[in-house]
């Protein structure tokens, strides 16, 4: 589903991603972990063709990431998600549905389904200015789930959410995983990753330190957090 081959990204003298290669299979729930500035978001941006790699190649669903068609079955939630101040949550979702080539009535039905899924019934027509950060994040997740994508790319999905919100998102991701959706997760919440994901990769300073099943990475008597700190600190 996702394939990175010798990917390097340089910003002038800074190497944000250094010769990284890994793959994520269909139906896998994968976590990309790393400290701030490790290069996680850069990898996500390269997957979505928001930025081009200096060298190497990325492919999604067998198509190069530069081909817009490869994004047809992808849902994406950005870190620090925003909704335009002139739109309500409903109009934002409707716009996202229309951008996926849905007709008007299909788009409305899909928006109703999504509003229910993210638990925002009754608040969907309020102006964005009245939403909390957590509510904006929910609408962002809703937009990512629009059209039932095969691959979900989430960059810090629980950012700004309270513990109840985090739990709800986790439960939602678990149900999506059970339905066979491939999930690519960027997160700092290692305890949540440990509960949801099957495989993980840890990167630091742009270099891939490990990529394996979580059960193989975490040894007996350790937590994912212990492994993460041990690997990142070298």
């Amino acid at each position: 589903m996702i394939e990175l081959t010798n990917v390097t990204k340089q910003y002038q003298s800074l190497t944000a991603v250094d010769n990284v290669s890994f793959s994520v299979r269909n139906g896998e729930c994968f976590a990309l972990l790393g400290p701030n500035g490790a290069g996680k978001t850069t990898i996500v941006k390269m997957l979505l063709d928001f930025t081009r790699p200096t060298s190497g190649s990325l492919s999604l669903n067998g198509l190069p990431s530069t081909d817009a068609e490869c994004r047809r079955s992808i849902g994406y939630l950005a870190e620090n998600h925003h909704i335009p101040s002139t739109l309500s949550g409903w109009h934002y979702l409707l716009r996202c549905a229309e951008l996926l080539d849905m007709g008007k009535s299909d788009a409305i039905d899909e928006c109703r389904r999504i509003v229910e899924l993210i638990g925002m019934q009754g608040r969907e027509h309020a102006q964005t200015g009245t939403y909390s950060k957590g509510m904006i994040q929910r609408f962002g997740l809703g937009a990512a789930l629009m059209g039932d994508p095969k691959l979900l790319i989430l960059d810090e999905p629980t950012s700004g959410l309270d513990p109840i919100g985090i739990r709800e998102i986790r439960q939602l991701l678990e149900s999506l995983k059970c339905r066979g959706m491939t999930i690519f997760l960027n997160s700092h919440l290692l305890s949540e990753v440990e509960k949801i994901c099957d495989t993980a990769a840890i990167i630091s300073n742009g270099k891939l330190l490990v990529k394996d099943a979580i059960s193989a990475i975490v040894k007996d008597g350790e937590t994912l957090e212990d492994v993460f700190i041990r690997l990142v600190r070298g």
Partner: protein, 282 residues
């Protein structure tokens, strides 16, 4: 990719661009203010004007006033189109719409094309309505019917395309306000240069040059080349105005400004698409 699959994203982005702009209060205020100003010009056509001791007839007054209003609206809407275009990429980036749109199966060129057509359509509509108000005032109130006035308005839309494309391209290279000042500078220099050129070809200027004994320099100099190549925004407006002034078509030289602006649109359009292709989406 099939054309039928390529067009819907562009039309949708065009629609969203127009809706987002119209939803802003500043746009509505700007439009209402401009419409009121155009209505106020109506009063100017009801006075008596004397030139060289002779009163001008009502038809001449209305035609002259319509021509002046035509040019003022044309130039004014160009400034408004630049103001609308200057912040479009930044706003989309800050509000997360750029990443939202481009994370869907939409190519970058489709996004840019949607933005261009949205801004262009909106500014053309803005100008057409203002010109339409002048047309209705002259037709209904002053009984001077000039259907070519509206055709001329549409011809001026080429200038708006130039402003939109240039503004979008420059806003990727520099800060919005500097890009706006650059576009404004191009327009002002072009208008002033065309004005000087028109004045230098007038009978008064020829008489003055004869009296002072100077001769027109026919040799090719660098400023003549710059003047020739400079965006001919006023030239397009004059060409458009000639449609309702009833001037005869005399040679290809008259449509040179149109060719000039269309070529600039193509060049800046190509540069814009090329630049945006390598742009990092935040």
């Amino acid at each position: 990719m099939e054309t039928s699959r390529m067009l819907p994203p562009i039309t949708r982005i065009t629609k969203y661009t127009i809706i987002d702009e119209v939803r802003h209060k500043s746009f509505v205020i700007m439009f209402v203010f401009c419409a009121i100003c155009v209505f106020l010009v109506r009063g100017c056509s009801q006075g008596n004007y004397m030139v060289n001791g002779q009163y001008l007839d009502a038809g001449t007054v209305v035609r002259t006033l319509s021509k002046v209003t035509f040019h003022v609206i044309g130039a004014g809407v160009m400034v408004i189109a630049a103001l609308l275009s200057m912040r479009i990429f930044r706003r989309d980036r800050n509000e997360g719409m750029q990443s939202c749109i481009l994370s869907k199966p939409i190519a970058r060129w489709q996004y840019v094309m949607g933005k261009i057509t949205g801004l262009w359509a909106l500014s053309v509509l803005f100008m057409f309505i203002l010109h339409g108000i002048v047309f209705l005032i002259t037709s209904i109130d002053l009984k001077v019917f000039m259907p070519a006035y509206l055709v001329a308005s549409l011809l001026c839309s080429v200038n708006l395309l130039f402003v939109v494309v240039t503004m979008l391209f420059l806003s990727l290279l520099m800060s919005d306000i500097v890009a706006f000042l650059c576009v404004l500078g191009v327009g002002v220099v072009g208008f002033v240069a065309d004005g000087i050129a028109a004045a230098s070809h007038s009978q008064i200027a020829a008489m003055f040059m004869q009296q002072s004994g100077s001769q027109a320099n026919s040799s090719l100099s660098w400023w003549k080349i710059v003047y020739f190549l400079w965006p001919k925004l006023l030239g397009v407006q004059q060409l458009a105005a000639s449609l309702f002034e009833g001037e005869s078509f005399n040679g290809l030289g008259r449509i040179y400004p149109l060719i000039n602006i269309v070529l600039y649109c193509l060049i800046f359009g190509a540069l814009l698409f090329r630049r945006f292709r390598s742009e990092d989406i935040v």
